[in-house]
Point group: C3
Chain length 682, copies 3
């Protein structure tokens, strides 16, 4: 076999070192079995200390040393952190963010924010673009001949950063103009008559930050997501001029951040932006210690793999991260193999050495602050050695999942402006909570999923499509899903789906729009109770509802899976199941406890949906599968617990790779605490 | 009988409809037994899409259709929601609100807020007034001859919106000048020597938003409340020029909003503003489902009825409202009759059809989003039919209550600047909490109340006057209350009453000022413990105190109703009762659990005060009484619970109106869950 | 004996009186045994009602009356509250504070805050200084010949008030320039390469409010603290020109305010500022009623006494304070004697009469709002009489403590920018929490402490030095502490100590920097668990950890006092004890429950450290000792509880002073609830 080795390495910042470390670090990297570093991203200030004066000595030193030590290098464009001189020269480059509610619900603008943090520039500002291009070209020109470079990263975790300054608002109006043609049409599709908000001339178009119209606000979000793709495509164009055959262009996509990678990224449409790169790259951080479940690794990987339907690179993940994440012994190894089990072609830590000052001093890397190889380095070295040995078996993992989760940035945005539930209780319950509710139930049942964007129209590759909170859905998408069920597909949708059109206007016919027949029910009432349970003959009995309940009228032949346990809602269904033509459709009319959903997925869907055959094991034993480059089936057994677990191998003759043990159908697979076993069919 | 029929209807917005609905809606309205709609308020943007160009086609369509279907119409002036062109033309029309505390207790101004929401304009701005007058006159001219119009509504839920811009501050200084004459006097009455705040020239008068002087801040609130009356009177003057005989002018007064109608409106003196209209109108929203108690309906009605000591119109109330308020079966009917039981002459829902976009998409109307008659419409239709039948019996209900609650905007404002209790615990415990504490105790004991403003001097119509937290009280008012007790009245006052003068200066003699003799006690110490109970031989024993405790020295003959259960406060009284001349006075020196207050009111006051004879039933059975236009006594029995209840009828021969059943003294009245029975004496 | 009498009195504001009170008040003061008042501070507005026009009639009246009644007077300069005319004339004198995080972590500036509150001026603004000097000189000229004046107070509770305006930022750059020489050096020591933050010219130096570099932010705090000293020295220079022999100059230092005096003042280096005055003055407020523990009185006193290693004046403390602090009977007396027990030479209440308006209306003084002598006045009178009698015995108390707590403003600031623990949980756990954790454990064990600043190099006067969270520590200080242990000293340090250098750069060698040998351990890992306990054979067993845990590697001979009870951390120590050369050192690697720390201090340190011999009594019996001017040992027995307590006297023949009873070794000392006994050896 001649597969590429699994990439294993870390981000490396010579610029931040408190002392001369380069030779020592290169030795340690190699000794740990690492083979790649990422450099240059975020260091504009050192590469161009004043306008037009370039200083690449850090870059040169590191490239030279990497080359000497046989390390591969990924070079990042440094554009996501402004140098001080640029902010000083043109403060308007800094974003002007959405305003906070100041008092009495009133909103104000505050002007550009102050210089300091990264990721706070207007990515569409002409002068920023001008200076960024000069910087990128200087860098590319300088490094392009280095043979150790395997690829380039565009910017980093690019977003629109909530920018709402005049420039982007003017550009937004042009976009509106182009999309809708006339103000009359805009008034109509957004419903601006309400509260006298109609706009009669482009000149009087008010600052969109003050709007109380969620359709307009959602459109602004959508436009701003489009500017992220525009920005990445523009950088890809520049970098592409310098790229050599075999080098990739990637982005470090990140997810909604709730202190860790939680769900779909609100500010970026990953599916659209992935078109700008040749390799999907991702940034995955997650809780650790007793809270390590592997869910974020799997979800982040599944999304990332789905972007280009191919393997992807984990550009950043935690060696240690936050103090509360200091990994227990064994967890670092479990995490690394879990990434590979989702289809990653490499794992890179952020970052090599813990920083000695500034914002991320307590976000620790492979080396601790004393810069000496410690426990984490030792654990990484074990992983590095194993990867060197197993690369040929693990590389190029492909999957053929039968379940897809349909996700939508548009629905996510709309639900920011129309929050789910009882707004008086101010509970934060959002799109990604619903998405994760569904995803986690599949994950814990060892049913692997792909992700699909809302632009999908052909679902025929899947047995089951799961649709969380698809609040805005065009009729095109709705009809495609209907067609999928008619042709034999199985559809599982939640509350708050199919409710508004692509302009976030509520469909003014029966809900769910066009899909009553498919789900075998309709509804026009809903509530948000604080104390309501489900009543069911099955696994959902007693489930605690919260946040949102739709009062479903089941049709005659529809099976009511669960009712609401309140005499006031007698006769209304909470969860339904309906056969429709050749397919079947479930509707979850309310949110309830995740444990009950996990049981529902296991006992109902896993049993009944063709093509879905989950393992008997459930979380904390996680099983992930695929086919490697050699065409052999590969099964990862992952123990997400501090106690020993066993699983049962079923399949043809195989080898457990970490120990090199032969395995036969029915053999026990024993997993140490936070342990890993990898089985390859012979 | 030739009484006017009970008004029953909804707000109607042709402007917001997603499709042609007018004919269908008119038919549905009539079919449901509705007889009135309200239109035009908030639609300035459609009526005057650009400055000076008017378009009344929505208005005309609806008036025409209403007329054809025999529906009455209330036309609102549209001034509470600015059109975009006006904000664009003159951004200074938008309010500049009180500043939020930004950091370290420091305050800043932020400039006018952004355009978008309603109710954010400076109601005294000359250009706003100019444009509003043009708009109002154009509308009035256009509709004045329509015979279906029964009245006009001025603006909507008018307030001063927290405005604190330069214009209103300058006007405030003129008001101060006029009221106090000299700066020397202002320094004196507000105590501006403190912390060097004294002002020596009008030029140096600082931005009042920064003040730490609660007297000055309270005066600013008082002035701003006066501007609301000024605004309504100004609109009444214009509209009055067009009004025909028989047409009313109303306002839609709303209450302190805590997610629902909670208590006295901080920004408006309803009693004063009511002088500007010919019919009191009110906006009442309240919790629902298991939290429906009827308290807000009763309180809002009692205040509204007291404004002009006459019947009033419920201009807005919920058909469905928030998702968490979706009514249980029967609740909509219970609510409608409860409004009538307080003296409403009509009930109008906000609004007819649920909106399909923007801010209030989830504040549902009579029709759901699918615009088809659903469960709520059916329930409303039942009510509509009953009202048509019973109107002659229910209309014009008059009451002769023996209890009055004295309320004060001035006290409310002052307690915003001098919060009750332990400020370190940051508990939000305000004037309206005390007011509701008292009101609710009477309500749940079925003792009906009127409300009186702090300008009242003659209390002779009442047996008992209840005074919650009258923190500022002029000596004139104090002496009037004293006189009331001397002449045989009964007075029940709470802590934080009679403490400061009309300039919110603490009276520097013995507390309660001038009333020691009346209450039979004085005090000069108080505390705010976190764990203190009452000790009593009566119903108050064991009551949990919180937020505020005054340490009362009882005089020799005073009856101590409760002590504090803490050896440190030995000898101090918490609650006292005192006979004084021909009257009696109770003083509640602390806040304690509402259940104990309810018992106190029941067992002490209800037994002892002449003229107060409560029914044996208590909440959740609510009984409300009055005399109808025919002069017959009418008694409403209202069941605010999900379980069947019984009450006992006592009185002369009567008829239960909903079922038409004859009723004799001693007969049981059976109330279904959330049920209503109405008894008219023959 | 000819000692000065104990000072006992109150702040007095003739300016704020609602009526003529002066003669009456002077009589009452004298009758209560009081002998001193403080005047003039905060009354600039009345003394200079317009620029350059002075009016001293309030001052003259009070000085005249005080003189007649034999009262001493402290005159304060009035500069901490701006007159309205000055803010109007020059609004830039008002501070521009650090910005609040507005949204998405972005920061903005808001301009100068509005006039109103006190302590909101830029203390370095040239025009403020100019006007302040004119005011101070006019006042000093006017009063300097008054013989009743015993001293002057400079300003009041001076701080830099969070000011971050342009002026102070420009001055900060000059300070940086002077300290570090070049920008290259600044980039290096602060690590500004990170996130492209390096600065290449002084012109482009960004607004420091936006910085994400904690080293730079900490330096800004340090500079601003230096401006407080500069300001006080400048005022001292002016006032010093007028001072007569025997008169003192003082400041009213206050502590970190958490609703009361909690810990080290973040904005002021008291040790440095104390050089500007001749008498240390202090402001101590504390919880009361059931929460009265005496801890703040002891801590505030111990710091204040340490400033000039001499007696100090309690310039302000509560007579009543907040409503929730209304003292229980006996508490006022306990508090007064507790101040003296720490070495105070006088106790002054803020303030004499409760105010009738404005910000502090509910911060009550000796007289209640009715201005009549009440319960508090009577209790104060008892104290006053006792002080008159006992002054010769109590005055001039000196202590020789064997324990010192090393405190550092620099560490405090740095931990604001690098918060302890899990930042996602947003718990507020700060430097002063650790300092108080240590201090309180000693206090409750009746082991008295001095405080030392971080500039200390000679620790030889102490047996034990306790070091809380010394996050930044120069190598000079570290070596001095090492030397102290080598010479036989005992050192007790907590987590988060010795971690960064004086520029808040993490030391990049083994932690704790240079002290591994001393503590017998090192570490390079740490975590912040939410559920972790200690495992120990001693008193720490079962202690609940929270917020921060360092994973210590003990060296061979080190005694592990406690481990972490989690298999993942097997082998790591949590608390260590190590003999090193002639000394010994304990290290607390984590935060745990205060009760366990109290036991640790009692059972380990108190037994083992030479020179520390605590009494058998522990909190709530507090014992404080010293030697009076006559050279006799004085012991205060203080009962901080509502139940009677007994202690045991041990020592030579003595007299209990409050009762005049003779006392012999072994005699019981009986303490009434909240009671005091004072024993003087004969």
């Amino acid at each position: 076999m001649t597969t590429q080795p699994i990439l294993y390495g870390a981000a490396y910042y010579d610029e931040y070192m408190p002392c001369e470390r380069l030779a020592e670090d290169m030795k340690l990297l190699v000794k740990a079995g690492m083979n790649v570093i990422r450099i240059a991203e975020s260091t504009w200030g050192t590469m161009e200390p004043e306008r037009g004066r370039f200083d690449f000595h850090h870059i040169d030193r590191v490239l030279e040393a990497a080359q000497q030590h046989g390390l591969k290098v990924i070079v990042g464009t440094p554009t996501y952190a402004l140098p001080a001189w640029l902010a000083h020269e043109c403060p308007q480059i800094l974003i002007e963010p959405e305003p906070a509610m100041v008092t009495n619900g009133s909103v104000h603008c505050h002007g550009p924010e102050l210089y300091g943090r990264r990721q706070n520039m207007d990515i569409g500002h002409p002068y920023y673009r001008e200076r960024a291009e000069v910087m990128i070209r200087a860098l590319m020109d300088h490094v392009k001949e280095r043979s150790c470079i395997i690829g380039y990263q565009l910017d980093n975790e690019t977003k629109y950063y909530g920018n709402a300054n005049d420039r982007i608002q003017k550009a937004f109006l042009e976009w509106l103009h182009e999309r809708y043609g006339t103000l009359e049409e805009i008034n109509r599709v957004f419903g601006l008559n309400y509260w006298s908000n109609r706009i009669n001339s482009w000149e009087e178009f008010p600052d969109v930050r003050g709007t109380i119209n969620g359709s307009l606000a959602s459109a602004f979000d959508e436009y701003r997501r489009a500017t992220v793709k525009d920005f990445l495509s523009w950088q890809a164009g520049i970098v592409g001029e310098y790229v050599k055959p075999g080098q990739f262009i990637t982005q470090n996509f990140d997810y909604e951040w709730r202190g860790w990678s939680f769900g779909l990224q609100p500010q970026v449409d990953h599916f659209k932006c992935a078109e700008a790169v040749t390799l999907a790259g991702v940034d995955i951080y997650h809780p650790s210690q007793a809270d390590l479940t592997g869910t974020e690794i799997a979800m982040g990987g599944d999304i990332s793999r789905s972007l280009k339907q191919s393997n992807y690179l984990v550009v950043e993940t935690q060696a240690q991260g936050f103090p509360q994440w200091t990994p227990y012994p064994g967890q670092l190894r479990l995490q690394a193999f879990s990434h590979l089990a989702s289809g990653a072609l490499g794992v890179m830590y952020w970052h090599w050495h813990s920083l000695h000052n500034s914002w991320e001093t307590y976000w620790r890397g492979v080396l601790p602050h004393d810069l000496r190889p410690g426990r984490i380095y030792e654990e990484a070295s074990v992983i590095g050695k194993e990867l060197q040995k197993l690369s040929p078996h693990l590389q190029g993992l492909k999957k053929r999942n039968k379940v897809a989760i349909l996700v939508s940035n548009e629905a996510l945005s709309a639900l920011e402006h129309y929050p789910i539930g009882d707004v008086l209780r101010k509970r934060e319950f959002k799109y990604n909570d619903v998405m994760r509710w569904l995803y986690d139930a599949f994950y814990r049942n060892n049913i692997e999923c792909d992700f699909l964007p809302a632009t999908t129209r052909d679902f025929s590759a899947y047995s089951l499509v799961a649709v969380p909170a698809l609040y805005t859905a065009s009729e095109g998408l709705i009809l495609a899903l209907k067609d999928f069920v008619y042709r034999g597909g199985e559809l599982l949708a939640t509350f708050k789906s199919f409710f508004t059109d692509e302009n976030v206007q509520v469909y003014h016919d029966s809900q769910p729009h066009y899909l009553g027949e498919v789900f075998g029910m309709c509804y026009n009432e809903f509530t948000a109770s604080s104390n309501l349970k489900l009543e069911s003959l099955g696994v959902l009995d007693g489930a605690q509802c919260s946040d949102w309940e739709e009062l479903l009228y089941p049709f005659t032949d529809t099976k009511v899976v669960a009712y609401y346990d309140n005499p006031a809602w007698d006769g209304y269904a909470a969860v339904t199941e309906n056969y429709c033509s050749h397919g079947r459709a479930w509707y979850l009319g309310c949110y309830f406890s995740p444990e009950h959903l996990q049981n529902f997925v296991r006992e109902v869907i896993a049993k009944a949906v063709p093509g879905i055959r989950p393992h008997p094991e459930t979380f904390p034993v996680i099983i992930r599968e695929g086919v490697n480059e050699a065409g052999h089936k590969l099964t990862y057994y992952l123990n997400y617990s501090a106690v020993k677990q066993t699983a049962s191998y079923s399949g043809s003759e195989a080898t457990e790779l970490t120990a090199g043990r032969a395995l036969h159908d029915g053999d026990k697979v024993t997993l140490e605490p936070w342990g890993v076993q990898i089985v390859e069919e012979n």
